[in-house]
């Protein structure tokens, strides 16, 4: 039975053609007729399409009649394409025996591809190199093959030349999947062992869990247990995506499919957890489970206080579907009642904010994102600080998260890239030529430094050619201080930030200057100060508003004047009141504009 199953993923950089290739495979195997094909079926969330990335993993079962005359079941497990979701990627890869490594023949290997290819190698996956977009005039298949061999160290002598757009190479790819990727091991008669690689909440069905069965079998009526989280549930339905949802009687060892078991919260089904038979449990779970913690935090506040309840409901709904996102109520002196929210990364944060505003019609004010600091208090207690304004006055030490960043860049841009990493407090760990004109550099960097404008600047100094990936490597002690911003002598907690001591003066000056440009003139002069402790390190003034008057009001058109004033009043609604001051959203993100 299992000898005809092949489980595989596609590894590719954004825009290297992953979705188009997936479409071709679906089309070729008849999973969807051409008429049914919606372009790029796998990216089903609107936001995913717009941003051109895959956020949630999906799985599709294809049936393929190979040249040897046998029918094979091919399970394509899609992977998210952004560094924020690298843990999810690792769980998807762990569910496969092989992967297609798709590289754009005109672009070459990118950092993201490399990181995921390494992950696949770590999981002992069979890697099938696919050189895509060979139809492009700028394609350089031989150069690309060389790059893959040098950068990843895999044999590319049998790499497939393809153009997913033109349908070139599709059959060769399917044949290679059948011939090269091992069928899954495992025994239907062993106790159940199913790896969760995705789950989401459906309004009608509750939580739907996507699993790869490694051992045993699962069918409706069975009592299952989450080995890490501990929950026990009764299975009501199991099935596959072909790509439409289709119930089956039983899922066997080696298969990929869904389980529905009356689960109400997505947090009960953590990605990477192992499902087993509650009455006949496996001895040990699948390896590699991590309880993954948010890396980036920011505050969300409704601009109008009466929207607080709506915001809470909306966060609750989003949380149903996304266990990696956390929130808890917080109060800011400046902003009132809101929530501190944690995300896997900046993209994840932007997605959530956009969904809150778009799907729930909320007007939100967000504070600048921050990383989580580990602080050892004077009494030895270790706390995690997710909000700069909560950093204690005195402490023994403060540590910040570090990442190992891998950057790929054409050699002509290497100078500015090294300067940038230096400026961001980076330490170079590795430097190597890949091919004749590309360089791979590894840097250890504080996460805090790459949160803000790092990626954009990397792109701009390399004319868009550089790519980057990073992984968390732990906490390191740093010389950090809290920089407070005072408006008319009062600290605005939502503007506080934690910065490296060497950069504090510079940041203070830059930030006050930026704020001067952002805070509109008001009835009274506004003094903007930056301070470390009691010491003021920078000061700017916003002069009082001097002139705001309608010169003409005659001829009887009173309504137009009234509407002008009402519009001005509406504009103020979007401002956050802070004592007598009114601050626009941009003020709270000003820190992001400081280099």
């Amino acid at each position: 039975m299992t000898k005809n199953i092949r489980n595989f993923s596609i590894i590719a950089h954004i825009d290297h053609g992953k979705s188009t290739l997936a479409d071709r495979l679906l089309e070729y195997t008849g999973a969807l007729s051409e008429r049914e094909m919606m372009e790029q079926v796998l990216d089903s969330m609107d936001l995913e399409r717009e941003r051109g990335i895959t956020i949630k993993a999906h799985a599709v079962r294809l049936e393929y009649k190979a040249k040897d005359g046998n029918i094979y079941i091919l399970n394509l497990i899609d992977t998210p394409g952004h560094v924020d979701f690298s843990y999810e990627v690792s769980r998807s890869l762990a569910s496969c025996e092989g992967a297609l490594l798709v590289v754009d023949a005109s672009q070459g290997v990118e950092a993201q591809t490399l990181a995921n290819a390494y992950l696949a190698v770590e999981h002992n996956l069979e890697i099938i190199p696919v050189i895509n977009k060979i139809d492009l005039p700028s394609a350089d298949p031989n150069g690309t093959i060389k790059e893959i061999e040098e950068a990843i160290g895999i044999d590319c002598s049998e790499a497939i030349l393809a153009s997913a757009k033109e349908g070139i190479g599709t059959e060769e790819i399917l044949e290679a999947i059948v011939k090269k990727i091992k069928p899954p091991a495992g025994d239907d008669n062993n106790p159940l062992k199913a790896l969760i690689f995705d789950s989401w909440f459906d309004n009608y069905l509750g939580v739907i869990v996507l699993v790869r069965i490694f051992e045993g079998r699962v069918r409706p009526g069975m009592r299952i247990k989450m080995m890490a989280e501990g929950g026990i549930f009764e299975v009501s339905r199991v099935g596959i995506f072909s790509p439409k949802m289709k119930d089956v009687h039983e899922l066997f060892s080696g298969e990929v499919g869904y389980i529905i078991a009356g689960i109400k919260r997505v947090t009960d089904t953590k990605i990477g957890d192992t499902i087993t038979d509650a009455d006949n449990p496996a001895l040990e779970p699948c390896p590699g489970y991590k309880d993954i913690k948010p890396m980036v935090f920011c505050g969300f506040y409704p601009t109008q206080t009466h929207q607080y309840e709506n915001l809470r409901d909306a966060l609750n709904k989003l949380r149903l579907n996304d266990s990696s996102f956390v929130y808890e109520p917080e109060t800011s002196l400046a902003l009132g009642f809101g929530f501190r929210c944690g995300f896997l990364g900046l993209l994840h944060m932007e997605i959530i904010k956009e969904r809150l505003e778009r799907e729930f019609d909320l007007a939100l004010l967000s504070t600048a994102p921050t990383v989580v600091y580990r602080v050892t208090k004077t009494d030895g207690e270790i706390i995690h600080v997710e909000n700069p304004s909560l950093l204690p006055e005195n402490y023994l030490k403060i540590e910040e998260p570090y990442v190992l960043a891998t950057i790929f860049v054409p050699s002509e841009f290497i100078g500015p890239v090294l300067d940038l990493c230096q400026e961001k407090r980076g330490t170079q760990k590795n430097f190597a030529y890949i091919g004749k004109d590309r360089i791979k550099v590894d840097y250890e960097l504080p996460l805090n430094e790459i949160l803000w404008d790092f990626y954009d600047r990397l792109k701009s100094i390399s004319k868009g050619y550089a790519s980057m990936d990073y992984e968390f490597i732990g906490y390191r002690e740093s010389d950090l201080v809290r920089l407070n911003i005072l408006l008319n002598g009062e600290i605005v907690d939502a503007l506080s930030l934690i910065v490296h001591k060497d950069k504090a003066y510079y940041k203070g000056r830059e930030l006050t200057e930026k704020l001067r440009g952002i805070i509109p003139r008001q009835m009274y002069e506004v003094a903007i100060q930056a301070a470390i402790g009691n010491k003021i390190i920078a000061r700017e003034n916003v002069k009082a508003l001097r002139k705001d008057v309608l010169a003409k009001c005659y001829g009887g058109d009173i309504t137009r004047k009234r509407k002008l004033l009402e519009k001005q009043k509406e504009g103020k609604k979007r401002m956050k009141k802070f004592g007598k001051l009114e601050l626009p959203q941009e003020a709270f993100l000003a820190v992001l504009k400081v280099k």
Binding site: K547, V549, L550, C553, G556, L565, K572
Partner: protein, 380 residues
């Protein structure tokens, strides 16, 4: 029943670069047909008008009309309405569109207030603004008015013109005062979209820039001081008058009195409804000629809007607003109001005398901000 009448004449010889008011190039035939339509509209609205206390003919440039058209319009007014014995009849005019014959016609028709769009006595500024006259034309116009012993005339001046200096502003004010008008209006030049000036400043910011805010404030404050010293009362944000020469017609707008507007693009306020007429001249005439009122929009004023109007129109006047009246509307929280007023008084933006709340000179400059704050805090 209404006592205040506005008539709009949307024709100009040429458009000034800063103007976003409704006007079209003068065309004799069109203007004659238009005046016919005005007379018809007057009759259509006759039953809403009691005797008249003011008539204000504005534009555009009313004095581009021929003597014949002007006479026809006034004959229609005289034939259909009773005039109060102290009626104020104002006509707006531009130097350069006026000759002895026309003045004669106007005086014979009963016009007793002349509002002259001088704008500046500096020829370079006038040329820049696209005015069709120069300083000398302006002086000649006033010579004519004086010849007929007309004492109630007003002139408009503009400050904040790109390139204008404090000296040239003083020069224009002195010239104005020396002509001994009964009334002076000073308007800040504001940049409106869809004007030539707007395009000019957008396209060549190196050649043309609006004046610095501090200089504009200095010009405004100078005008207030200078005109006060010369016997003019600063009775509204942009208006100054010798005793007993305030513009009764305009005061009625700021007092929220009723008025009837006649003509394309004109506005009326009657029975608590604010209406505006169709702007397009041909559409306007077609409507009138089929005996249909040419209404473009009509808005019933809610108590809340009434209160807002009361505040923002009332605060334009030097006498300010009666807070007893504000409180008696029952739409505002008295406690909130008092706290708010105290705050504004403490900071020097408002003053309160015998129940009348008014803007200080400092407050006038940011009157929009103060008014909006009042709306906001009083939740209206």
């Amino acid at each position: 029943m209404c006592n205040f009448l506005y008539i709009h004449i949307p024709f100009c010889i040429s458009k000034c670069i800063y103007c976003d008011f409704f006007s079209v190039p003068f065309d004799k035939t069109l203007s004659e047909e238009y005046v016919n339509a005005l007379c018809k509209e007057l009759i259509l609205k006759k039953q809403n008008i009691k005797f008249l206390k003011t008539i204000y003919i504005g534009g555009g440039t009313p004095t581009v009309l021929s003597e014949k058209s002007l006479s026809q319009l006034f004959k229609c007014l005289n034939d259909n309405f009773n005039f109060s014995s102290d009626i104020e009849i104002t006509v707006e005019m531009n130097p350069g569109t006026l000759d002895e014959l026309k003045i004669h016609t106007l005086i014979d028709s009963g016009v007793n207030r002349f509002s002259v769009g001088v704008q500046s006595f500096n020829d370079n500024e006038l040329r820049f603004l696209g005015r069709i006259h120069n300083g000398e034309n302006a002086h000649n116009t006033f010579k004519l008015l004086k010849k007929y012993n007309l004492e109630n005339f007003s002139l408009d001046l503009i400050y904040g013109i790109p390139g204008q200096t404090m000296e040239s502003w003083k020069f224009s004010l002195e010239n104005a005062v020396n002509l001994s008008p009964s009334h002076i209006s000073t308007y800040e030049l504001t940049l409106e979209k869809n004007t030539t000036l707007y395009k000019l400043i957008k396209d060549s910011p190196n050649h043309f820039t609006m004046l610095d805010e501090d200089l504009i404030i200095e010009m405004y404050n100078f005008a207030i001081d200078y005109l006060s010293k010369n016997g003019f009362e600063h009775y509204e944000i942009s208006n100054f008058a010798k005793p007993a020469f305030k513009c009764i017609h305009n005061l009625n707008y700021w007092d929220r009195g009723e008025y009837i507007g006649i003509g394309a693009g004109s506005h009326s306020f009657f029975n608590n409804v604010r209406t505006s007429n169709i702007m397009d001249i041909n559409e306007y005439m077609n409507s009138i000629n089929s005996n249909v009122l040419p209404i473009k929009e009509s808005i019933v004023i809610t108590p809340r809007e009434e209160l807002k109007e009361f505040i923002f129109l009332g605060l334009r006047k030097k006498e300010g607003i009666n807070i007893k009246k504000l409180i008696s509307s029952h739409l505002v929280n008295e406690k909130l109001l008092n706290a708010l007023i105290k705050d504004f008084i403490d900071t020097g933006f408002l003053e309160l005398k015998e129940d009348y709340l008014r803007l200080t000179q400092k407050g006038i400059l940011i009157s929009n901000t103060i008014i909006v704050k009042l709306f906001e805090k009083l939740e209206i």
